[in-house]
Amino acid sequence: MLMISPKMASGVQEKQYTPCLLSFFIYNPTFGPREGEVRVTLLHTNKHHKNLKMMTKSLHTQKNRQFFFEPEENFWMVMVVRNPMIEKPNKDGKPPTIEYQEEEILDTVYGAVVRQCYCMYKLFNSTFGRAMEAGGVELLIQKLEKFFYRYLQTLHLQSCDLLDVFGGISFFPLDKMTYLKIQSFVNQVEERLSLIKYTAFLYNDQLIWSGLEQDDMRILYKYLTTSLFPRHSEPELAGRDSPLRPEVAGNLLHYGRFLTGPTNLKDPEAKFRFPKIFISAVDGYEELHLIVYKAMSAAACFMISASVELTRQFCEQLDSLVGPQLTLLASDICEQFTINRRISGPEKEPQFKFIYFNHMNLAEKSTIHMRKTASVCLTSVHPDLMKILGDINCDFARVDEDEEIIVKAMTDYWVVGKKSDQRELYVILNQKNANLIEVNEEVKRLCATQFNNIFFLD
C-alpha cells in the first residue's frame, strides 16, 4: 500500500513548483562530436521505425530527470524536466531551502510525452530521415525549429498524467441508426468528391468514425482535440458581435465552416491552402491535405492526396455539399444523444471517478478529467491520486496476467486498478471507513452498470 502525504500540511509561506521543461534536444551521435547544441548531424535514413513503442529511457538526478528516446536510428530525442520542488523560506534572511521531489515524476508519463512529440512532428513533417533526404541537415534543422518552437509551448508538462500514457481516443456514444446515417453520409461524400481519400468524423471532440488506421488516427485525434478544436471555440455560441463569429455572409442554410484552409469562401483573396499531414502507408508514408470542416458540434476531416492542388471550386463544392448535410446530422446526433441520456436515466450517470482504457481500440473514458481546453487539462482529483494511478499502471505494464490492485491513500481515498485482458480500469472512491471488501463490492457494482456490455472479468 502506498502512503501519500498531503501537501498542504506545512507552513503557509512554502512555495511549490510543478515540473517544467528545461530543455529539449534532438541529437544524432553519428554526426561526430561538436561543441554547442548539436541537433542533427548525419544523413541517415531509417526505413523501419517499428520500435516506436519501445520504452524511453530516463536518467534520474536530484534536480532533473532526462528522457531519451530514439525514434529513428541514431536520432535521439532528449527532454530534460525539472523535478517538482518545494521552496521553504528560512529565517534570518538565509536563502530558502529547496527540496526536490524526485519521486513525484513518473517515467511512463513523460516518456509518453516525448514519444508524442515525435509522433506529432511526424504527422506534419514525416520522418527526420525524409527531411534529410530532401534537404540535408539544414532542412531538418529548419523543420525542427519551426515545428518545435511552437509545439513545445503547448506541452503543459505539469498537467500530464495517465491519459498521456494511454494516448487514447474518446469515442462518442451513439445509437446504431445514427451511426449508420453517418456512415452513409461519409460514403456519399467520398463518392461525390472522389478526391477525398479518407474521412474522419467527430462529434463534441469525440471520435465516431475513422477512415484512417488506428495509429494515425490516434495522433490526428490528439492534434484535433488539444490544438485545432480549442483554437476554434464555437462561433455559434459566441455573441452576435463577437469577433469570433465568422462572416456567415448570405449562407444561412447551414452552419458549416472550414477550420483549416479558407475562413471565408467569399473572400476573393482567400487562399485554398490546407495543412499537410503524413500518414503511414503500405510503401512508407502518404502525404495528404487535411481539411477540417465543422458544423455545430460535428466535425468532418477530409483527407486528400497532397499531389492534388485544391481549388476554390472544389472548396465551394465541398461547402455546398457537406454544409447542409453536416448541419442536419449534427442536430440529429444531438437529439439522439439527448434522448439516449434521458432513457438511460440518472442512475447510469457515473457517480464514480474512473479512467478506462482499452488497448485494442484505444478507447478511453475518464470521469476525472474536465473538458480539455486549449491551455490545460483539468482534473477533478488531487495530483497525488493521479500519481497513484500512474504507479498502478506501471505495475500492470510489468506483467501480462490480469491483475487487480487496491490502494488506500492517506486521504481516505481508495484507489482501485483492474486489468482484464487488454483493458485497464482505475477507480477512485472516496468512502471513509470502507473496508477492502466493501470497496471490492463497490467496484463490482460499477463494472456491472458501466461496463456490462463488455467482457470484463471480476
Binding site: 449508420l180 446515417k181 460514403n187 481500440n361 487488454q422 456490455n453 463488455i454 467482457f455 472479468l457
Partner: protein, 717 residues
C-alpha cells in the same frame, strides 16, 4: 366499344356486321354513331392507316426491345363476325358468343378457359340484340326486341322451354340488361331500371325493385356490380347504382364537366367516352375529354372520377394525353393504358405515381408512347394449321373493340386477347430510378425485374450513385417492412385466439413486391461483392447502405448479410473498419458472428476481445466463453467467469482439469483441483469426484505431484 375519336368501350357488346356499322374518319368531331339497335354491339373502324412498317432497321431493333405492352399468348379464338355470324361479348363472364343465323344453326360460347365454353342451339326468333349467361352459366338471357328479354334454363333437370319477361314500365324501351348474380338480373330501360329475381323452376321472374329515371345509356362494372346511368338531356349527369343482396343502393350522382356546353342542349356525353373500372381496388369512372379543335389545343385528357362506396364522387385524377385523336382505354395491372389509334401507340399512366412538377393528381404518361409488341396470327383463323407460318396481325386495327379491364377483341379476325404489361423494357425507358422503383413495386410480376434493376444500379451499365442506391433500398424495404408488420399483427391476432374481434383477419398476401433480405442476398448482393471491376469502397458502402435501410425500417438484419460485410472487409484487410462497426454494434450480436470473429483472431488479434464481448452480451453463451478461455489456457479466468455467472456447480470439472494439466503449470493444476474438491465438498459433503465426472486420471496425477496427503479428506460431521 369502339375506337372513337375517343375510345371504344362498350358494356356488353355485340359485335357484328363489321364493316358497315360505323366508320370514324375524323379525329376531332364526335359523330353520333349509327349505333346498332339495342345495346352495345359495336364496331369500330379506323381509317386505314396505310403502311405499318418502313422504319429503318436499327430503330426497329431498338423499338422491339421497348414494347412494354403485349397481347397475351393463347388468345380466345372464335368464329369471326360475318353476315351470318353475329358476335357478342359479355364483360361479366368474359364470354364471346358467336350466334349463327339467330341461333338456329348454333351458338358457340367461348370463355377465358375451356370449362366456360358452351355450344348449343336455339330457335331463331328474330335478330339477337344482346345475349348473356347469368353467373355460372345457369340461365341464358337473350334480348330480341326492345320490350322484352327471353330466358332459357341451363340447369340440368329444369324445364328448357324459353320464357319471356316484358319490361314493366309502359312505353319504355329496354336498352339492355345485366346479370348481377346467378338468378338476379337488371333491365335498363330508357325510363329507369327494373331489378328482377329469376325463378328458373317456375319459369318466371319477380320484380324486386325498380327506379324511375331517364336514361340515355348505361355502363356496368361486373366486379363491383355498379351500374352507371347517363341522365339529363346532355347526358353528363351520371347516376351510379350498386346492386347487392337483392337491393339497389343509390350512390351519389355527379356531373361530368363537358368541354363545351352545347346550345341548345343535346346529348353531349357519349357512352364511348366513358368507362368504369377498378384501379388499386377503388372504383373509378374514366372520362375521355376532348378539347375543342383550336390551334393551341392542349390535347385530350382522361379525367378520373373516384366513386367511393359511400360519400360523394370526386374528380380525382387528370391524365394528360398531350395529343388528339381516337383513343381507347384499358386497365392493366392497375395502370391506365390509353391506346392512340392514329399513331398506333399506347401510353400508360399510374395514378399512384406522384408527379413532382405537376399539380397534385395531374399525371403525365409514365413512359414515352410505344406500340403494342407485334403479334402474329395464323392465316387460317381459329383453326391452327401448323404448316402455315403465322403472319403479322394488324395492331390498333379499326376492327378492334376494347373492353375493361384488359380485353381487346378483333371480331373480324375472331380473336380475344388479354393485354399485359412487360416490365423489363420499361427499365431503360425510365431514367429516374426512384420513380422506376415506385412504379415497379406496384406491379404484379415485378420481383425479377426489380432485382435486375438493383443489379444494374450496382455497377451494370446503368450504375448509379450511392444516393440513388439508398433511395432504391429504402423503397424496397418500406414495402418489405409493411408486409412484415402486417404478418406479425396477423400472427399476434391468431395467437390471441379467435375470441377477440369478430372480424376474421386475413393473412396478408405476400406480393412479388416484397423483396426480402434473402432475395437481395441471392440475386444481387452476393454476386455484387464478387465483382472485380467495382471498387471495394463502393461495395462496402452499398452493403452498409442496405443495412442502414433495413435498420431504418426496424427490420432485423440476417446473419448472412453481416457475414458478407465481414468477408468483404477481411478480404481487403480493413480490420479497423470492422472493429469500428462492431464497436457501434452495427453488426448485431449473435453466436455465429462471435464464432466468425474468433476465427479471425490469427489475422487480427483484437477479434478475440470483440468476440468475447459479444458472447458476454448475448448472456446465453457462457459455455462458449468458457471454451474460448480454456482454449487460450486462461483456466483461472474461465473458473472466475463461471463462478461469477453462477455456473460453477454444474460445470464439468474434467474440462478444467484437462486444460489446467495441459498448461504444465503445477500450481495452477493444484489450484483448480482444490477448487473443485471444495465445490464437491459443498455440494455433496464429500470432496471426492463422482465416477461420472471421469476425473480419476487427474486424481492419480494430483497424488503423483503432491502426494496423497494433499488430497482433501471428507470432513467428518
Amino acid at each position: 366499344m369502339v375506337w372513337k375519336r375517343v375510345h371504344m368501350k362498350v358494356r356488353q357488346s355485340a359485335i357484328r356486321t363489321f364493316s358497315s356499322v360505323c366508320c370514324y374518319t375524323s379525329f376531332t368531331t364526335v359523330e353520333t354513331v349509327s349505333y346498332c339497335e339495342g345495346e352495345g354491339r359495336l364496331v369500330v373502324r379506323f381509317p386505314v392507316s396505310g403502311q405499318t412498317s418502313g422504319a429503318e432497321p436499327a430503330r426497329c431493333v431498338r423499338m422491339a426491345n421497348e414494347h412494354y405492352l403485349e397481347l397475351k399468348e393463347n388468345p380466345v379464338q372464335f368464329e369471326h363476325a360475318s353476315s351470318v355470324n353475329n358476335v357478342f361479348f359479355d364483360e361479366a363472364n368474359k364470354q364471346v358468343f358467336a350466334v349463327r343465323s339467330g341461333g338456329a344453326t348454333g351458338v358457340v360460347v367461348k370463355g377465358p378457359d375451356d370449362k366456360s365454353s358452351v355450344a348449343f342451339r336455339m330457335d331463331d326468333k328474330g335478330e339477337v340484340k344482346c345475349i348473356k349467361f347469368s353467373i355460372g352459366n345457369k340461365i341464358l338471357a337473350v334480348q330480341r326486341t326492345s320490350k322484352s328479354v327471353d330466358f332459357i334454363n341451363f340447369i340440368p333437370d329444369y324445364p328448357h322451354m324459353e320464357f319471356t319477361q316484358e319490361c314493366k314500365t309502359k312505353n319504355a324501351n329496354v336498352l339492355g340488361f345485366c346479370w348481377t348474380s346467378w338468378n338476379e338480373i337488371v333491365f335498363i330501360t330508357d325510363q329507369g331500371v327494373e331489378f328482377y329475381q329469376v325463378f328458373p323452376d317456375k319459369r318466371s321472374l319477380k320484380l324486386q325493385k325498380s327506379q324511375n329515371i331517364n336514361v340515355n345509356w348505361y355502363q356496368y362494372c361486373p366486379e363491383t356490380a355498379v351500374l352507371l346511368l347517363s341522365t339529363t338531356v346532355q347526358g353528363n349527369v351520371l347516376q351510379p347504382l350498386a346492386f347487392r343482396n337483392g337491393t339497389i343502393s343509390k350512390m351519389s350522382k355527379f356531373e361530368i364537366e363537358l368541354p363545351v356546353i352545347p346550345k341548345p342542349a343535346k346529348l353531349s356525353l357519349s357512352e364511348r367516352d366513358v368507362a368504369i373500372a377498378t384501379i388499386y381496388g377503388q372504383l373509378y369512372v374514366m372520362y375521355l375529354k376532348h378539347h375543342s379543335r383550336t390551334p393551341n389545343s392542349p390535347g385530350a385528357e382522361v379525367v378520373l372520377y373516384h366513386l367511393p362506396r359511400e360519400g360523394p364522387c370526386k374528380k380525382s385524377h387528370v391524365l394528360k394525353l398531350n395529343t388528339t385523336g381516337k383513343f381507347a382505354l384499358n386497365i392493366v395491372d392497375n395502370l391506365v393504358v390509353v391506346h392512340h389509334q392514329s399513331s398506333q401507340t399506347s401510353l400508360i399512366f399510374d395514378i399512384k405515381l406522384k408527379e413532382p412538377d405537376c399539380a397534385v393528381n395531374t399525371h403525365q404518361p409514365v413512359l414515352p408512347a410505344r406500340s403494342i409488341h407485334p403479334y402474329r396470327v395464323s392465316l387460317s383463323g381459329p383453326v391452327v394449321v401448323p404448316s402455315q407460318p403465322p403472319v403479322p396481325c394488324q395492331l390498333y386495327s379499326s376492327s378492334w373493340s376494347v373492353f375493361q379491364p384488359d380485353i381487346i377483341i378483333s371480331a373480324s379476325e375472331g380473336y380475344l386477347w388479354y393485354l399485359q404489361v412487360k416490365l423489363a423494357p420499361m427499365v431503360h425507358l425510365l431514367e429516374d430510378k426512384g420513380k422506376l422503383m415506385d412504379f415497379l413495386l406496384r406491379r404484379r410480376d415485378c420481383k425479377l425485374v426489380i432485382l435486375s434493376v438493383c443489379s444494374q444500379i450496382l455497377g451494370g451499365h446503368e450504375e448509379a450513385g450511392l444516393p440513388v442506391v439508398a433511395t432504391v433500398f429504402d423503397k424496397l424495404n418500406q414495402v418489405y417492412k409493411d408486409y412484415l408488420e402486417a404478418d406479425q399483427s396477423y400472427t399476434a391476432a391468431m395467437e390471441s385466439g379467435p375470441s377477440r374481434g369478430s372480424t376474421a383477419q386475413k393473412r396478408p398476401v405476400r406480393t412479388q413486391a416484397v423483396i426480402d433480405q434473402s432475395d437481395m442476398y441471392t440475386h444481387v448482393l452476393s454476386a455484387f461483392t464478387e465483382r472485380r471491376d467495382v471498387s471495394h469502397k463502393f461495395i462496402i458502402a452499398v452493403l452498409m447502405e442496405y443495412i442502414r435501410s433495413l435498420n431504418q425500417n426496424q427490420i432485423t438484419v440476417q446473419h448472412y448479410l453481416y457475414e458478407l460485410v465481414i468477408k468483404t472487409l477481411v478480404q481487403h484487410n480493413l480490420f479497423y473498419m470492422l472493429h469500428q462497426f462492431l464497436q457501434y454494434h452495427v453488426l448485431s450480436d449473435s453466436k455465429p458472428l462471435a464464432c466468425l470473429l474468433l476465427s479471425l483472431e490469427s489475422t487480427y488479434p483484437p477479434a478475440h476481445q470483440l468476440s468475447l464481448d459479444m458472447l458476454k452480451r448475448l448472456s446465453t453463451a457462457n459455455d462458449e466463453i468458457v471454451e474460448v478461455l480454456l482454449s487460450k489456457q486462461q483456466v483461472l479466468g474461465a473458473l472466475r467467469f463461471i463462478r461469477s455467472v453462477g455456473g460453477h456447480d454444474n460445470v464439468s470439472a474434467r474440462k478444467f482439469l484437462d486444460a489446467a494439466r495441459q498448461t504444465g503449470d503445477q500450481m495452477l493444476f493444484y489450484t483448480v483441483f482444490r477448487s473443485f474438491q471444495q465445490r464437491n465438498q459443498r455440494l455433496r459433503g464429500n470432496p471426492a469426484f463422482n465416477p461420472g465426472e471421469h476425473c480419476e486420471e487427474h486424481v492419480v496425477h494430483f497424488q503423483q505431484l503432491f502426494g496423497e496427503q494433499a488430497l482433501m479428506k471428507p470432513s467428518t460431521v
